[in-house]
């Protein structure tokens, strides 16, 4: 029992990431604004559909049309149509403090209990004449009131992703787990070459086996996520998909190489050597190439904001890191079961031979 603590740790962390990752709600957000295209100098009734809000009559709700950090208009009135739908009235002045004739501006909502949330570039406004100094003179400065804070911070609301943001805890740890398992197998391969104990090679192969399983699961879960957010199961234009497919091909080749060599010692030697070279290639494929491209849909690659920047806020971290540790340790447990079964098989083969 005592030496099994890490298995319980893995189970606890995975369970925690599944339960908390599924149950903790998203922050409120703005789903839809109607109309989305308006003209300066007119008054508009806009309906705003929101997500995860429970507006009740009597709530103090403020809404702003944000032009930039200094200038904004507060809506004339806010009417609650439903717990997740508002009607707000904006009087748009004729002149906007903006040098662009047409631009998209953000909408901010701030409400009791619910907190403050924003939809960037929600409405596009056309102004007929551009008079920025006149506009600045006419507009009140710092027109934003105190924004209300939510009672509790939850997972961030992200357009396009919405609830599927939670896949961060299930899709990404597959790749982290794969990477750590490959590192483990590298260590085992090097140890094999150092002291020629074929058991080390068996360990390395088992870890690669689970790493490949994680890689396939990463591809499959990524395909589902991509279908729902990017609109396609698989795209060869996305560098991360290409490099992960190449890494999987590399380790398929590794297993084929093992199958092709009958002599146990030679197999261990050759496959250890290939897995060391393959690991170097995998590092370049998975970690260097994706950073070299101009554009990528994945965060942290090719000009996208870094993973760990605004893509991973503190509420996500509290579930994401446990998930990574949990799935990694679970992977090592699975690998351990695999090579222990192989040891048993080898033991009996030798005994009955």
């Amino acid at each position: 029992m005592k030496q099994n603590w890490w298995k319980f740790l893995a189970v606890a962390l995975v369970l925690y990431s599944v339960v908390v990752g599924l149950l903790r709600p998203l922050n409120p957000g703005i789903l839809k604004v109607n109309p989305i295209s308006i003209e300066a100098g007119k008054s508009y009734d806009m309906t705003i559909a929101t997500y995860n809000t429970d507006f009740q009559s009597g709530d103090d709700i403020q809404s702003y049309l944000k032009i930039n950090d200094t200038f904004g208009i507060q809506s004339q009135q806010v009417e609650i149509l439903a717990p997740n739908e508002l009607k707000v009235t904006f009087d748009i002045p004729t002149k906007l403090p903006s040098i662009l004739q047409r631009d998209a501006y953000s909408i901010i909502l701030s409400a009791d209990r619910v907190g403050t949330f924003i939809r960037p570039r929600a409405v596009s406004i056309v102004q007929n004449e551009i008079d920025i100094s006149g506009a600045i003179a006419a507009w009140p400065q710092n027109s934003f009131g105190d924004f209300k804070k939510a009672a509790k911070a939850n997972f961030p609301f992200r357009a396009i992703l919405y609830e599927s943001l939670r896949n961060l805890f299930y899709h990404v740890p597959m790749w982290f787990g794969m990477t750590f398992l490959l590192m483990g197998s590298l260590v085992c391969s090097v140890l094999y070459l150092a002291n020629k104990n074929t058991r080390m090679d068996t360990r390395a192969a088992a870890m690669i086996q689970i790493a490949v399983l994680y890689g396939i699961l990463g591809c499959a879960t990524g395909a589902i996520w991509a279908r729902g957010t990017w609109g396609t199961w698989w795209t060869f234009e996305e560098i991360k998909l290409n490099v992960s497919a190449a890494t999987l091909l590399l380790y398929f080749a590794y297993f084929l190489l093992r199958a092709a060599i009958d002599d146990e010692v030679l197999r261990a030697k050759i496959s250890s050597v290939y897995s060391i070279i393959g690991f170097v290639a995998a590092v370049f494929l998975l970690f260097v190439l994706p950073r070299m491209v101009e554009s990528s849909l994945h965060p942290g690659n090719g000009g996208n904001p870094g993973f760990g920047g605004e893509d991973l806020d503190n509420t996500l971290r509290t579930v994401f890191y446990p998930a990574v540790i949990g799935w990694t340790v679970l992977g090592f447990w699975m690998a351990q079961l695999t090579f222990r079964a192989k040891f048993l098989q080898d033991y009996f083969l030798e005994k009955y031979d």
């Binding site: 789903l31 559909a49 919405y162 899709h171 499959a220 589902i224 729902g228 098989q345 009955y352």
Partner: protein
């Protein structure tokens, strides 16, 4: 009898349609929530672990047969 079943289906269909019409916003929210992607992901991972269980099961069966054959 057949007609009755058809009527029943039609009724259910119509009433569900009405329900949907009454609850359009909730439905839109549900589909835009994309929670089904998370469910799909978890199902795939579960299937992966089950596949792993079957492979280890097969390995252990092999070992058991080996022992049985030799005793």
């Amino acid at each position: 009898m057949k007609l009755n079943v058809c009527t029943l289906f039609l009724l259910v269909f119509l009433s569900s349609n009405q329900l949907v019409a009454a609850d359009t916003i909730d439905k839109a929210l549900h589909s835009s929530g994309k929670i089904y992607l998370v469910v799909g992901t978890l199902v795939v991972i579960f299937i992966g672990i089950i596949i792993y269980l079957f492979t280890i099961d097969k390995k252990l069966t092999n070992i058991e047969n080996q022992i049985k054959d030799n005793e």
